[in-house]
Symmetry: C2
Subunit: 153 residues, 2 copies
């Protein structure tokens, strides 16, 4: 997969969390996933179509998402409830939206589906494609999260 497809997702993630939650996050080095799976407590996932089919997921551990949503809401959130799931849906939408706008500027046009949010302690996510699966680990005050970008072809 072209690295030009990955960088917009890193940039939009940093930007969305800073704008929406006043949270600074640090991106680690992207890596190609083989069999490993992302593991966490809340995941937002959104499908892509267009010049190729794909999927993007954001998997948070409990510490990172509680810190982020507490900042977003301006009140201390202590459990992974429906409000947190909604916030993860919104963040997933915004991350995908900003990345897609940047990709459009280099003539890589994707459409996005509706995001779904999965909550459940220590779940795992895998993507059903033979194409490359790129993971980007992020750290944030309070925990960590992982973005995965899969785009066929």
């Amino acid at each position: 997969m072209d690295a030009k497809l990955i960088n917009p997702f890193i940039k939009s993630t940093i930007n969305v969390l800073e704008t929406m939650a006043f949270v600074k996050c640090t991106a680690g080095k992207p890596y190609l996933k083989k069999n490993a799976v992302a593991q966490g407590d809340v995941t937002g996932v959104i499908g892509l179509t267009g010049e190729a089919n794909g999927t993007v997921s954001v998997t948070f551990d409990k510490g990172s998402i509680l810190k982020i949503v507490s900042n977003m809401f301006g009140e201390e959130m202590e459990e992974l409830n429906a409000e947190v799931a909604d916030a993860v849906g919104e963040l997933t939408n915004m991350i995908s939206g900003q990345a897609r706008r940047e990709l459009e500027e280099i003539n890589r046009v994707f459409e996005a589906a509706i995001p779904s949010v999965i909550s459940g302690e220590n779940h795992q996510i895998t993507h059903y494609t033979d194409g490359p699966k790129i993971a980007i680990p992020f750290t944030v005050d309070g925990g960590k999260f992982t973005i995965e970008v899969c785009i066929d072809g």
Copy 2:
């Protein structure tokens, strides 16, 4: 949401499970979800775009999916491992593919993204849309599963 959009998913689910796993399943009455969420142990989710944006998820309890994959593989599967996740990805793809082909015949054209599969005991899934969310409960020998179809507008 138009009922004509839901029936193809019910029909394709019954057909795919019968063809791939020789399993007969029974569809319950579809219902409009408000706040409730699907709960289960393995979920396949796939995004849709096209005439409208959407998402389709299939959430299995452990009993139903172990029965289905044991039949698919012709050997007794006892745990929710990577092979089971792969099978759920494939089933999700096929259910969405057959339903989309049938929808095309009535000139409702959707594209599908890459399916993602979430494994983790007793997780919950919600869909981030203001549009209607239709759930269809299914029973199968060994357990139950739920299909959710959300299509904006």
